[in-house]
Point group: C2
Amino acid sequence: MSKTKVAIGIDVGGTNTVFGFVDNEGILVYESSIPTNSYEKADLFFDRLFKKIDEDFKKFSARYELAGIGIGAPNANYYRGTVEQAPNLNWGFVNVLEIIKKYSPLPSAITNDANAAAIGEMLFGAAKGMKDFVVITLGTGLGSGIVVNGELVYGADGFAGEVGHTIFDPHGRMCGCGRKGCLEAYASATGIRRTVFELLGTTVTPSELRQVNFNQLTAKDIADAANRGDKLALEAFDFTARVLGLKLADTVAYLSPEAIILFGGLALAGDLILEPTKRYMEENMLNIFKNKVKILPSALPGAHAAVLGASALIWNELEKHRK
Amino acid sequence: MSKTKVAIGIDVGGTNTVFGFVDNEGILVYESSIPTNSYEKADLFFDRLFKKIDEDFKKFSARYELAGIGIGAPNANYYRGTVEQAPNLNWGFVNVLEIIKKYSPLPSAITNDANAAAIGEMLFGAAKGMKDFVVITLGTGLGSGIVVNGELVYGADGFAGEVGHTIFDPHGRMCGCGRKGCLEAYASATGIRRTVFELLGTTVTPSELRQVNFNQLTAKDIADAANRGDKLALEAFDFTARVLGLKLADTVAYLSPEAIILFGGLALAGDLILEPTKRYMEENMLNIFKNKVKILPSALPGAHAAVLGASALIWNELEKHRK
């Protein structure tokens, strides 16, 4: 009996790095993780990671064979195979694909997590069969992966798709990037927390959230409060959707996508965010685009989405070379 | 001796329709025009146009043979071959490529003028050898053509690249599209005229432009005044560049282009607009993109740029099919 091919999908996170073995239909055969250890240099990190992967794969090698390695990592550059000055890693500027060659002769590819999510949606999720779409990840920040004609847009230097750092209001909130008013300062899990605290200050609306401190508050807390009818929490969702919808009308003007797929923490709030985002996007959209663009939730299984996306990256490369 | 191949480039304008015969290196062999007649239906228009083209080509048929027909027209849809409700034409929704088949068996393609300009720059102009760039046309409105990986971005329905209708200020100026604060209401030949008149009202700055009425004022008048040191005209250029630079920082965040090429009426003002646009773009740009993106003037000969762009559209198609 011939062995089933699986790709290794690796998602490098600030706290944990998750990896898994995924077949070319998106079936996750196995998943595990190691702590990322943010103080550690890249060499030592990948040494630990591949020891663990090799060890774990032994249990599967009778029935499966490895086809390639796909990696999603912050500040990853697809063209150069590098991770460049990622804020939560102590790696500096490092060529990850070069390091990986020491451990495996398999074909490998790296990109950032939002781009990996986009390819994951295209191969296994909500964008199956689509050639033009955008994935927006609403987590700590706002990431994005843009697909045009079935290909991820990397641009001239590999860093295209920074929709989170388009400017909503040049006089607005400070962003982590050092500028003011970036979309991600409003539309992200962190952004909606900031909106709640701004509203706690600027309004006298009673709210259960008046008893929570900033560091403890999560986007899920805000969604739970909104689902219980908390007016301030509802207002925070409305404002977040208004900002996101306005800027997604710009996204449509640039790219005319078939769909925009919302992914990650804040997207789990479902219609609290999807419905008003769609409504505000339509309100702000040029006539020729009205009622043409879907806003969809991710269709990757939440807990495993990042690993599926990373594996999709390399499955997509293998498919391209097969053609 | 074998004949040299030329494409017919056709630029449909609101007043005149210009056509020419262009070889595959961008040499314009002949150019002429007919009035567009804005009241006329498409059938009659193309009947007049092809009679004129056939008549004129007779003088060249001994040495040249025709390879294809490329058309730039307002509200043109590349996928469908249509022009759809163009504001200055009485054509309604019409399939132009179907009409053309009655007159010629040659391969043909249609797109809007900004997309044609982008392919023109790629084949014959400032974007030669580039795979990722954006052309911004600063005329009556602001049009744009986006190229990713050497291919024009059309999006799911063929209307991608409406950068002029991304929103600068949701509470800002009325735009011709019925919404408020679109980029083209500020950054275009019309936009800078509006800025001059706003400044004439909101400031007491002495200016030679206080003697000109709105309908007479042209972008060239404003550039001439600025070149003579007129402070109000200089302020109008500075404001226009500030708005354009801010929004082009968004363009870079989406697409990470190698260059942004400015084309059309207002771009003829040269460094009055290019230098401050570049400066404001850099000021507003995410760190990872700083000092990487060129702002270039069009390198197509101004008077013939539209016809060269339209011919480039079909040369590019013929090249794709040859591969």
